[in-house]
Structure formats: C-alpha cells, structure tokens
Amino acid sequence: MRNCKFEEMINEYLLNRLTEDEKSTFEEHYFNCPSCFEKMVERDELIAAIKYKGQEIFKDEYVAESAKGETWWEKATSFLTPKQWATAAISAVLVAVIVFGILPMLKPTSPQFYIYDDAVRGSKITLISPVWESETVPSKFEWQKMGEDVEYKIYIYDKDNVVWNYATKDNSIIIPVNIKNTFVSGKIYSWQVKAFSAEGNLVSLSLKVQFKIHDPE
C-alpha cells in the first residue's frame, strides 16, 4: 500500500510539534485527503486514551522504569551512545584547543562571544493544564517541557497581581495547600510560565492562560 507523504506529519500535528506554516499546510492537506484524515482521527483517539488512562495502562512500565536499578554512572552516561560520547569528547578537545590555545592569541582583535542556548531560544512554552474551567481548585499545574537544564518559574495571577510564584526544574508543580485554600470559586485567575536558561536568562514564556473554578453550589 502506498502511503501519503503527509502521513508522517500526523503525530507531530497531534502532539503540537509543527511550526505554524507546517501546521496550515497539513491542515489544508487533511481537508483534501480522506485517508490522512481517517488515520489522524484513529491516532487522535489512541493518544486521547493513552493520556486519559495512561497511569493505569502503563503500570508495568512505571515499575520497570523505577526498578531498572541503573547505577548513577549509567544514568549519567546513558543519554548518549558510545559513538556520541566519542564525538562529544573530540568536540570538547577541539573547543579546549580553540578557547585556550587559539583565542588568547587573537585576543586584541577578537570580539567577545556569548553562548546562547539555541535549543530553547525563540520557542514558546505550551501550558497543558489547567487551561479553562476547572471543577475543583486545580492543585497540579503542567506545561510542556522545553529541554534539559531549564528552570521554570510559574506565576499565578489574580487580575494583574501575582498570588503565588515558584521556581522548578520540572514541567509540573503541585501547589501548596495553604495557597490552594485561598482560591475563590467563580473567580477567574490566570497563570503563566517563564523559562530560564542555566545562566539565568529568560529564554521563553507562555501565554497568560485563564482558569476559572466552578461554583460548587
């Protein structure tokens, strides 16, 4: 069976990973391609089920993950393969040679240079929940992870006043009970997440998203 070349974009579209241009291209495409649309709907249902029931479905995977018993060294090194480690080592040597060997020689004319974290610069954080109305006071706030070594600051606002803020390296946070108790039903709050690089520079921020807590009546 011949596959449509757009099919590969289905996952990326559903997981919100396409750029605006790619997104519109793909959207126009599925208005014209019944096969892609059908596959996308199926995939969407699958992802929705996984998101909704994941904790239950993947009980075994959770156990496997925590019981793996990797040593700290394996954990620290396993994110790169040996080949990539070799490449990294060679690059490190090269950088050392350039920084300590060549740059000092050029010193009088060399411009200052800065290291930018390109992985996160210019991208936007997507807030996951809560994003609209909430039956109960939300205690968990979640957003999309931006990459390693990023610190997030979450702000909760009542109108323009910050009610609470907190810094974390995780992509979710449970808010403390005493803060939780100050939320009033029926009132509209908003929240926002800012991401900072290891050097403390603001690299990205999310939209300010509102959430409302239903009146329990």
Binding site: E8, N11, L15, N16, R17, S24, E27, E28, Y30, F31, N32, C33, P34, F37, M40, V41, E42, R43, D44, E45, L46, I47, A48, A49, I50, K51, Y52, K53, G54, E56, I57, F58, D60, E61, F79, T81, T126, L127, I128, S129, P130, V131, W132, Q144, K145, S190, S206, L207, K208, V209, Q210, F211
Partner: protein
C-alpha cells in the same frame, strides 16, 4: 451548475466535511470548549450558503475552499475572544474525556486493548505518546532506529484495531 450536481455537492459537504471541520475547530479551540459545536455548525452553514450562491467556482478543490472558510472563522473566533478576555486560553492538548460518555467508553476500550499488547509495543506507546519523547529520543532509549519507532507505533495501531474489532 446543474441543480442535481449542486444537491450532491451539498450532501457531500455535510457527510464528508462536517467531521473534518469539527475536528479542526476542536483542535484549535480545545476539544471541550463549549463553543466548538456552534462554531462548526456555523462554518458548515456558511459553506452551504456560499455554494448555493455559486461562490465556489472550482478554482480550488472543495476541500481547500472549506479549509479557507474554516480557518477564517477560527481566526475570527480567537480575535473576538481575545478582545473580551485579553488572553486567549490555549486549548488543552488532551483533557480528560469525562464529559462525553461516548468518548470515555471509547477510551476505556482502547485502554483495555493496549493492555493486551506485547511489552515491545506498549513500551513505544508509553514513551512516545504518554511521556511525549521525540521519535529520536525514543529511538535512543530503545536502541532502535527512528524509522523503526514509527513502524512500531503504526503496527501497534493496526494490532489495536484488530483487538477492538473482535
């Protein structure tokens, strides 16, 4: 345009494009935004009116014609909302399907089927969709090629389809 032909086209708009328009609207506004159904219905009505008035002249495909109307309406909606709210809420990617009973049942069914899959397939679904690692990250974690990650995901879907049918 012949009357018969137009009638067929209008029927096609309803049967074939209503689900597509609804999907697109939900994706942009958030699946549980209460306005979704109204916006989608409005778009379909608008499309039908335009076709009746002869505004669709076949310069593009019907799909692209409807896509353009849909996108415009969504942009309008977001603009209106942002005037009122100042900040437009971003749609939740996958909120709990608690409200729609049908969705909930469907999700349960799929979940039960996933539990029956071999660990090899569950593992890929877990990392790729639940943990949302990129294809490359999943490949690295499992020691297989990215191409293979996609293949496994696609194959899992096929297996699930079979499990759900029987």
């Amino acid at each position: 345009m012949g009357e018969e032909k137009q009638k067929n086209q209008l029927e096609e708009v309803f049967v074939k494009y209503k689900p597509i328009v609804t999907f697109r609207v939900k994706k942009s506004l958030g699946a549980y935004n209460p306005d979704c159904d109204d916006v989608a219905n409005e778009i379909i009505t608008n499309v039908i009116e335009k076709i009746k008035k002869g505004e669709f002249r076949g310069e593009s495909s019907v799909g692209t014609f409807i896509y353009t109307i849909t996108s415009r309406r969504i942009i309008d909606y977001i603009r209106q909302k942002s005037k009122v709210l100042k900040h437009v809420p971003e749609p939740a990617s996958y909120p709990d399907p608690q409200e729609q009973i049908e969705d909930k049942e469907r999700a349960e069914m799929i979940a039960t089927a996933i539990k029956k899959l071999k660990p090899k397939y569950r593992e890929v679904l877990y990392l790729y969709y639940y943990k949302e690692f990129s294809r490359e990250e999943v490949a690295l974690k499992l020691g297989i090629s990215p191409r293979r990650v996609s293949e496994r995901v696609n194959y899992s879907q096929k297996l699930l389809k079979k499990l759900i049918k029987t």
